[in-house]
Amino acid sequence: MTVVKQKLLALSGDEAVAYAVKQSDVDVVAAYPITPQTIIVEKFSEYVHNGEVDTEFICVESEHSALTACLAAAATGARTFTASASAGLALMHEILYVTSGCRAPVVMTIVNRALSAPINIHCDHADSMVERDASWIQIYVENSQEAYDSTIQAFKIAEHPDILLPAMVMLDAFFLSHTLESVNVLLDATVREFVGTRKIPLVRSHEGKLVPFKLDPKNPVTMGPLDLYDYYFEHKKQQEEAMQRALQTIKQVHDEYGEISGRRYGNGLIDPYRLEDADIAAICVGSTAGTTKVVVDQLRAKGVKAGLLRLRTYRPFPSQDLREALENVKAIAVMDRSNSFGAYGGPIFHEVRHVLYDAPTRPQVVNYIYGLGGRDMPQALIHEIYKDLQKIVKTKRVEKPVQFIGVRE
C-alpha cells in the first residue's frame, strides 16, 4: 500500500483527538466535565450539533456514569468513546476494572493532569499511572500528530477479536492538549475504511450456542454476573492472555496504519532515538521525549553517545523489546512524571529496572521524578541527567539511585 492523500491542519492536541474520533464512526460518546474537562468533548459536541457526525452524545452527570454509559453501550454493540483527566479518571477507577472485566472495547483519551490535593490542573502522569493495573491498554503520545494517529489505532486494537480490551491514549495536559501544532489528517473515507464497522465476535452462551458477544434479544447472554472462586480466576487469566496478545496487535495495527499514513512511532511499543550505539540513555513517556531528543542531538554533536527510549505502550508492558533495546546501554535514567509515594522510585522505573534484571549485562538504572503538577522540564535539567549518567559510567558508582529533579530543596 502507498501513503495516501492527507490534509495539513493546525490543531491542538485536544482538537486532533476530537478530529480522529469524528472520523472513526463512533456511535456513542458520553462525557462529563470534571475539574476540568478538555476541549476534546467540547469540540466533539460541535460536530454533533452541526450534524457532522452520526453519533449520540450523552452529557452524563458524572465521570462514573460517563464510563458506565460507554461500557453499557459497547456491551450493546456500539463503538464508544470518552475523554477524561485527573479527578475524573480517579472517579472512574471502579468502572475501569468493570469495563475491562466485561471485555468492552471502550476507547478513552486521558489528558494527563495532576491529582488533587492541592488541586492542580497541569500535567503530570499520576492520574493514568495509578490505573496501570486496570487491564486497559495504555499508549502515551509525544505530540498532537501522534495523539491523532493513536486514537484511530486505539479503536482497531481494542475491538480486535483477539483483544477485546479497553484502551486509553494519554497526552500531556497543556504541553500537547492546548498547544497548536501542524497535524496531518487522513481523509474521512480512509479512516472509515481503516477502522471499519465494529465486528462482534461469537462466544458460547449459557445455552451452549455460539452467539454474538453483545446484548441481543435474539441471543440472550448474561454479562457481568456473580463469578466466585470457581471461575473468576480463569476469567482474569484470560484478560492477561489478551493483554499479552495485544503486544503483537498493537505492532500490527501500528504497521498497517504506517503503511497508509507514512507515520511510524518506533515499532508501536517502544520508540528509540539514536539508541543503537548509545552508552547512556534516558527513558520517558509523553511530550518530554521531544525536548530530550534535542538534548540527545546536542550531546551527540559533542561526541557523547547518548540516546533515548520513549516508551509508547506502557500496557501491555513491552518487556522483551525494552530489554533488547537497552541491554548494551551502560547507564539508564528513567524519568517518571509521577511518584509512587513510599516506594523505591516511580512506576516506570520499577518496571524498567525489573525487566533489565534479566539482561545479560545488567545496566545501571537510576530514577528521576520530575515535572509534577506541570513543572517545566527544560533542556538544562535533562542535560544534568545525562551528565549524571556519564559520571556513573565513568565511576561505576551510583550515588543516588532515586531522586527528584527540578524541585526546591
Binding site: E56, E61, T76, D216, P217, P220, T222
Partner: protein, 320 residues
C-alpha cells in the same frame, strides 16, 4: 398511555417465564416475586440491567443464569447509567441500520440501596436527560445483600444491623425518604407505587412504564423475610398489609397528575377500612422492640406519620 390495556390470568399463565426457576433467592423472597410479575408485563424484545444487590447475586452465579433475556450488571451505583448507555446505543445503531429489531425496551432493576442512596445521582441524571427506560426499584428497605444494613429506604425505628434496636436508640432514628415523590419532581412522564400482593396492578404499572415514552419509575415494595424477620410464608400477606394500613399506598402519577390505584382508593372512599399500623408492624421482627412498654408509644408516632403522608397523598390525588 395504554390504560385500556388488560391482563387476564390466562394471558399471564401462558406467557413464558423470562426469569427461570432454580435461582438462589431465599424462600419467600419478595423481590423474586416482584421480578417475576414485572417480566410478565413485557411487550416484546427487552434488555435488562441490574444494580449490584440480592437479585443480581441470586440470578447469575456463573456459570448459571436465570435470565432468558439479555442482561448486564456493572456496579452498584450506576444502573441508570447502564440503561442510558444501552438505550442510546440502540437508538444510534437503529439509525445506522445495525439493529435487527424495530424497538427494544430497556429495564433497569435496583434495590433500595442502589436507588435511594448510592444510585440516586445516576438515576437523577438519567431521567433528567429523558432516556426511554423503565426503572424498577425493588424496595426491601435495607441492604439485604450485604447483611441487613439500614438504607435511605429503611422505615423509622426498624431494627437493622447498622441501626439496631438498642437500649437507648430503638432502631433507625430517621424516616423513609420519599423517593417516588422525588422522581415525580423530576417531571418524568410516569411514576407508580405497587405491591406484589396486588399483582394485576403491579404488572399493569410495569407495562405502562415500558410503554410510556421517556423515563418511568416503578416503586415496588418487596418484603424480605430475612431482613424483616417474619415467616417465609407471609411475604404476600405483609405486602398486602402495607397497603391496607396505608404504610405503602398504591398510586401512580402520569405526567405529574396523581391518582390512587384501586386497593388504596377503596380505603380513601371508606376510611373505616384502613387497618391500624400495628397490624402491619406486629408480625415483623424488625419492629418487635416497639411492642415493649418502653417503646410502645412509638407505634402511635408511626401511625401519625403514616396518616400525615396519606393525607398529603389524598390531596395530591384530589381526594382530600
Amino acid at each position: 398511555m395504554s390504560s385500556e390495556w388488560k391482563f387476564t390470568t390466562k394471558d399471564l399463565a401462558e406467557k413464558p417465564e423470562l426469569l427461570m426457576p432454580g435461582h438462589r433467592a431465599c424462600a419467600g423472597c419478595g423481590p423474586a416475586v416482584v421480578y417475576r410479575q414485572i417480566l410478565k408485563a413485557t411487550r416484546g424484545p427487552i434488555i435488562a440491567t441490574n444494580a449490584t444487590g440480592c437479585m443480581e447475586v441470586v440470578t447469575t452465579i456463573y456459570p448459571y443464569t436465570a435470565w432468558r433475556i439479555p442482561w448486564i450488571h456493572t456496579a452498584f451505583e450506576n444502573v441508570a447509567a447502564n440503561a442510558a448507555g444501552i438505550e442510546t446505543a440502540l437508538k444510534v445503531m437503529k439509525r445506522k441500520g445495525h439493529l435487527k429489531h424495530d424497538h427494544i425496551d430497556v429495564i433497569a432493576f435496583a434495590g433500595d440501596g442502589g436507588t435511594y442512596d448510592i444510585g440516586l445521582q445516576a438515576l437523577s441524571g438519567a431521567v433528567e436527560r429523558g432516556h426511554d427506560f423503565l426503572y424498577v426499584l425493588y424496595d426491601n428497605e435495607a441492604y439485604m445483600n450485604t447483611g441487613i444494613q439500614r438504607s435511605g429506604g429503611t422505615p423509622h425505628c426498624a431494627s437493622t444491623t447498622t441501626s439496631p434496636a438498642g437500649r437507648v436508640i430503638p432502631g433507625k432514628p430517621e424516616y423513609k425518604k420519599p423517593i417516588a415523590d422525588i422522581m415525580v419532581a423530576h417531571g418524568i412522564p410516569y411514576v407508580a407505587a405497587a405491591s406484589p400482593a396486588y399483582w394485576r396492578d403491579l404488572i399493569t404499572k410495569a407495562r405502562k412504564g415500558l410503554e410510556v415514552k421517556g423515563p418511568a419509575f416503578l416503586h415496588a415494595l418487596a418484603p424480605c423475610p430475612r431482613g424483616w424477620r417474619y415467616d417465609t410464608s407471609k411475604t404476600i400477606e405483609i405486602a398486602r398489609l402495607a397497603v391496607e394500613t396505608c404504610v405503602f399506598p398504591l398510586w401512580e402519577a402520569v405526567d405529574g397528575e396523581h391518582s390512587l390505584s384501586a386497593p388504596s382508593k377503596v380505603i380513601a372512599l371508606k376510611p373505616e377500612r384502613k387497618k391500624p399500623v400495628r397490624e402491619y408492624l406486629k408480625n415483623q421482627g424488625r419492629f418487635r422492640h416497639l411492642f415493649t412498654p418502653e417503646f410502645e408509644h412509638i407505634i402511635d408516632e408511626i401511625e401519625h406519620i403514616v396518616d400525615r403522608r396519606w393525607k398529603l397523598l389524598l390531596k395530591k390525588c384530589g381526594m382530600a
